[in-house]
């Protein structure tokens, strides 16, 4: 049972504080939590912390700390789930989750908390049910404009994809003022895949792991039915076979409880009547067997002169995406030996950038076209550790602390599993002429694409 709930900014300032049971301490717990968190020894996890009979459990979301305290030995899975559900709910109601939106909407947040939790027990977290009780309207900072086409991304995340819905389109309150009906008829469907890869130094693939999600954010009136058609060759498990091609295969799938699977077996159609707000329709995983080639290959060569401490790293990055596709915001991170001082570089195109940051080399490539090949030559000076013999051997063995290289990137309009949304049909008939806008987007991204050197 939850005793208290509070939200702290990234700097530890309390934004929201609510005590449900009055059984433990006062407001200073928020401060106590932040002090404990910052003073924690490195090998202890901050997820669950203890202080005088009180457990602090928190998640970090959009730079905020969402914390609950409890004095009982509760289910950690349940509590973390509740916290992330609360984060989604707050995002739904306030537009997006952030320090600014929370402090502008304090009244709304307290109203929500009042309904979600009673005496520390969860009442409901359904956007639908809560709608009936919430009176406060969200305060949005700046008016939303459809013409703001500068940058786009997943529910408003910043990427450089163009010609799709504007970034702020999805980051507005689900329950914004009832007057502007024209804006309400929108639905966003995103297929998002997170890729983690490990490649050995000889180029062989050690691990591929794809975590996929179909996320829906609906501004349509609740209860309007929609049908989502997936690629027909979509197979679940190793043995199933559909169609004559290689098929789109995933290892495991789980669906939200709202999804009606009557037509899934026959036509790969998901039927659902989503409530307003954000919802993960489907999750799936795929490991080891990718249908398409990996998006990137890295060919490193390292020259290391022990004697002079001169380290030369030549990196060639090849993008194996289809010619029409591109990768955005590619960043290569290469840990370097301790104490590297200078960096000189030769990059293959002007828009790239490379710098030393926190003991590592950071190479930014804003845009990489499919089929292209980019390279960078980096020279650094590594001070010789005192205990080492000075007879300088120019060896190919890399010095300690170099590598592995890891890439992070986004692949718009690309899914690594090959899964696509064939169609999104709405049974909903709007009152006016305005047809609902449907935005279907596909995106892969990775922050753990590791290549050993």
């Amino acid at each position: 049972m939850i005793s208290q709930f509070f939200i702290l900014s990234s700097k530890g300032d309390p934004l929201i504080y609510k005590d449900f049971r009055g059984d433990s301490g006062g407001r200073d717990v928020a401060e106590l939590f932040y002090r404990k968190l910052t003073g924690l020894p490195g090998d202890e996890s901050p997820v669950v912390m203890h202080h005088e009979g009180r457990h602090f459990i928190h998640i970090r979301h959009s730079g905020l700390y969402l914390v609950v305290t409890t004095s009982e030995n509760v289910s950690p899975f349940g509590l973390l789930e509740l916290l992330s559900r609360l984060a989604t709910l707050l995002g739904d109601y306030c537009g997006s989750l952030g320090e600014g939106t929370i402090s502008r909407n304090v009244a709304l947040v307290y109203e929500l908390l009042d309904e979600v939790l009673d005496y520390g027990y969860v009442q409901t977290t359904s956007t639908e049910m809560l709608r009936n009780f919430i009176q406060t309207e969200a305060v949005v900072s700046k008016p939303f404009s459809l013409f703001d086409l500068s940058s786009v991304g997943l529910f408003g995340a910043e990427t450089q994809q163009s010609k799709v819905a504007p970034s702020s389109a999805a980051s507005r309150p689900v329950l914004s003022s009832r007057s502007d009906q024209s804006q309400k008829n929108e639905v966003f469907l995103d297929v998002v895949e997170r890729l983690s890869v490990l490649i050995a130094s000889n180029g062989s693939l050690l691990k591929v792991d794809v975590q996929g999600e179909i996320r829906l954010k609906s501004f349509l009136p609740s209860g309007s039915e929609m049908r989502i058609g997936l690629t027909e060759e979509f197979c679940v498990g190793k043995s199933e076979l559909r169609g004559y091609g290689p098929g789109i295969r995933v290892d495991e799938v789980s669906f939200h409880s709202f999804v009606n699977l009557d037509e899934f077996e026959s036509h790969r159609i998901l039927r659902l009547q989503p409530p307003q707000g954000e919802l993960t329709v489907m999750r799936y995983q795929l490991s080891d067997d990718l249908p398409s080639p990996l998006p990137f290959r890295l060919f490193p060569s390292v020259q290391w002169d022990r004697g002079s401490g001169r380290l030369q790293v030549y990196l060639k990055l090849r993008c194996d995406l289809p010619l029409k596709s591109q990768a955005l915001n590619v960043r290569l991170h290469l840990p370097l030996p301790r104490g590297v001082i200078s960096l000189s570089q030769e990059l293959s195109s002007p828009e790239q950038k490379a710098e030393l940051a926190e003991g590592a080399l950071r190479w930014d490539l804003p845009r990489v076209q499919g089929g292209s090949q980019l390279s960078g030559l980096f020279q650094m000076d590594v001070p010789r550790p005192p205990g080492l013999p000075s007879h300088g051997l120019s060896t190919s063995a890399p010095p300690l602390g170099l590598g592995p290289a890891s890439l992070s990137f986004e692949l718009p309009r690309h899914t690594c599993s090959g899964l696509q949304v064939r169609f999104l049909r709405l049974a909903f008939r709007p009152c006016g002429n305005a047809n609902p806008h449907k935005w279907v987007r596909h995106l892969s991204h990775s922050d753990a694409y590791v290549i050993r050197i």
């Binding site: 090998d43 203890h50 916290l83 975590q211 301790r338 205990g387």
Partner: protein
């Protein structure tokens, strides 16, 4: 009996309903798959999904005040609704109108409407709430038939679908239930099976825990459940939410304690990526250590070796310790990797590698040769106390196989004045004396210098005492030195002082899906200790025979001990000399004569306990070092008739209790009782002094 009663009216109502339905169906056999036609006349050829028009038409009819006024026509429309319903058309659209129709005096109509409501209530829970009002009113109707009907309908309204939070609560609540029979148990498991597939991790884990606890007598069911929860757990381990990931990893470790091979084929899921926070990486390394097997050992070691050169020194050291613990099983590969790491000549790496070597040589003596070859040169890269101690110990114990051992130790002796850690000096004294025994010519001179320094110049009393002790020991003669310093050590392969490798599922099932695995057992123990100090263990038994009240019992506790009557039945012999070998042999050959559990809260001071036991003539044969969890000790005692008492003390901090197992070489219940009460008193007294 009660079931029969309940079933009867159902049959009865259905029969009536069948009679009431017009028998049109028989004229035209059902074939509802037709695709054409939407006018009311040809309804039965409607496609499955196209019932909107029918619903619209029926809705209009039900709302029509003229029809409502005419009882027969009203009932007729309702009958049509029921008929379509039985044919499988979706009639939930007229729920509102049907609820209104339930407020009638026509009992046939009431029955029809109630039948309808029971079918569609789960789809329209909000509207069904409206019907409850009517049902409640009917429950106080003068007509018993109406009352019964209303009551029965109310019971069959299955509309409250629990959401995930409710499900988790219920699953948690069910933990308190004790099934009465095996049959009932499996019924429950079958009913709850679907929750293992829920999309919510909280529900899945709640269900898993319930299954583990209900099936505590069926290990194969438990294993089965753990196999099924593998998927959700692995998904959580690679979740985007690092908090969820961490909690899942803690639970994976918990499962691995009982089923070491459980996640072995998924070892890649536990590889660390550079962007992960430190605490997740550490958990993953632990998991990798525990799931390693013949098939994946190569890949896992390769991965761990990569971590050893991580920029974060803490993480690198954790990875080295991990390789060290894998080395207990896969010695050769690991020793080779560790040896290569020494070649990097990094202080933070070398010190940990040497510490790992020290533990390894003790546990797996077969690798001694390889370790001894790797050691030369290490001393240049070790600065910290732990690392120095480990290196000096290795040089002392295995110095005869390391050619330059005396010269390395000589360096330490030269610099002993500037040495800041007393523990290093103590280790140095012991090591040099040991090495002196095997290589006297090379060591004699510097041993003399070291002893001189320790006795004459050293400020730390412990070091000075140790120096004096060795000096006097040497005066007694070399044989005595050998006897003390090279006394036989217990065979580590017997594993008496090691952890039991596998723990049964039942030992942690009740901790599953709680905070215990997240904190770790030992931390949880300290937390619940300061948290639950009020709910202490049972009272200590006070009536025990205890003759010797030594100096260890402070004045304030004395009277409690002395009120005990001196039975004098048991006389333990002082100065019993048993070798560890002999003890082990005897211990393994005997059966446990008595076992019991005493409460024991909080920290342990093995030395105090050993002293206290000594006072009552119970000797300590072997003991875990202070701070080990679980902590164990082996004791021996003998009474004046020659009866041996061999005892194992096992302290489990997580349960705050001390388990005592006593074995006897002659079965004599009376003396056994007296012996146990002596033990109890000693342990009880120490416990009291402490608190």
């Amino acid at each position: 009996m009660s079931q029969k009663k309940r079933q009867k009216p159902v049959v009865w109502v259905e029969q009536i309903l069948l009679k009431m339905l017009p028998h049109q169906d028989e004229e035209e056999p059902a074939s509802y798959r037709g695709s054409s036609g939407s006018c009311p006349g040809t309804v039965r050829k409607m496609p499955y999904l196209g019932s909107e028009d029918v619903v619209k038409e029926l809705k209009k009819a039900l709302c029509n005040p003229h029809i409502q006024a005419d009882r027969l026509r009203y009932r007729n429309v309702i009958q049509r609704v029921i008929r379509y319903m039985t044919q499988g058309l979706d009639m939930s659209g007229v729920f509102m109108e049907m609820v209104k129709a339930s407020a009638t005096v026509d009992i046939v109509q009431k029955k029809l409407v109630y039948l309808y409501m029971c079918t569609y209530a789960p789809l329209k829970p909000d509207l069904a709430l409206l019907a409850i009002n009517t049902l409640c009113k009917d429950c106080s109707d003068p007509n018993p038939m109406v009352r019964g009907l209303a009551l029965r309908s109310m019971c069959s309204l299955r509309m409250s679908k629990l959401d995930q939070w409710g499900q988790a609560e219920v699953l948690n609540f069910l933990l308190r239930y004790q099934p009465r029979s095996e049959e009932e148990l499996f019924d429950i498991l079958n009913l709850l099976d679907s929750f293992l597939k829920s999309g919510s991790p909280g529900v899945v884990m709640g269900a898993t825990k319930l299954f583990l606890i209900l099936a505590k007598k069926f290990p194969h069911v438990q294993t089965d459940v753990l196999v099924r929860v593998k998927g959700p757990l692995l998904a959580a381990c690679s979740s985007e939410s690092r908090e969820l990931c961490f909690v899942a990893l803690c639970h994976v470790r918990q499962i691995l304690h009982s089923l070491p091979g459980h996640f072995s084929s998924h070892y890649k899921k536990f590889f660390c990526s550079y962007s992960e926070p430190h605490y997740i990486k550490l958990q993953k390394v632990e998991v990798l250590c525990e799931l390693v097997n013949d098939e994946n050992v190569q890949q896992v070691l390769e991965e761990l070796r990569g971590y050893c050169t991580d920029v974060s020194a803490d993480f690198a050291q954790a990875a080295i310790f991990a390789i060290g613990s894998i080395a207990r099983t896969y010695t050769d590969q690991c020793v080779q990797i560790l040896t290569e790491l020494l070649g990097l000549r990094q202080e933070h790496i070398t010190t940990v590698v040497v510490q790992t070597f020290r533990d390894l040589v003790w546990l797996c003596p077969q690798c001694t040769e390889a370790v001894c070859q790797a050691l030369p040169g290490c001393e240049e890269n070790i600065q910290d106390s732990e690392g120095k101690q480990a290196l000096i110990w290795l040089l002392g114990v295995h110095g005869e196989r390391i050619p330059n051992a005396p010269y390395v130790l000589e360096d330490f002796v030269e610099n002993v004045k500037s040495e800041t850690f007393p523990a290093v000096k103590m280790e140095l004294l012991t090591a040099l004396l040991r090495l002196f025994l095997s290589r006297p010519a090379e060591c004699q001179d510097m041993l003399g210098r070291l002893l001189y320094y320790c006795i004459e110049e050293e400020k730390d009393m412990a070091v000075r005492d140790r120096g004096l002790f060795y000096y006097r020991l040497l005066l007694v003669g070399i044989d005595e030195v050998k006897r003390i310093l090279c006394s036989p050590k217990s065979d580590p392969t017997l594993g008496l002082l090691e952890d039991p490798a596998e723990r049964p599922v039942n030992s942690w099932a009740s901790d599953f899906n709680t905070l215990v695995p997240v904190y770790g057992k030992s931390r949880w123990a300290t937390i619940s200790k300061c948290h639950g100090a009020e709910r202490c263990g049972p009272e200590l038994p006070k009536t025990s025979s205890f003759a010797a009240s030594g100096p260890l019992i402070p004045e304030e506790n004395k009277e409690r001990v002395q009120e005990v009557p001196d039975s004098g039945a048991l006389m333990l012999v002082p100065n019993l000399q048993l070798t560890a070998d002999y003890f082990e042999k005897t211990w393994l050959s005997l059966k446990v004569a008595h076992q019991q559990v005493l409460p024991w809260q909080g920290e342990f001071h093995p030395d105090t306990l050993q002293m206290a036991l000594q006072v009552v003539n119970i000797q300590t044969i072997a003991m875990s070092r202070a701070g080990a969890r679980p902590w164990k000790a082996y004791l021996s005692a003998q009474d004046d008739t020659g009866c041996l008492f061999l005892t194992e003390l096992l302290w489990k901090p997580e349960n705050s209790e001390m388990q005592i197992s006593v074995k006897q070489n002659e079965t004599r219940t009376e003396t056994l009782k007296s012996f146990i009460s002596v033990l109890e008193t000693v342990i009880g007294t120490i416990e009291e002094i402490k608190s």
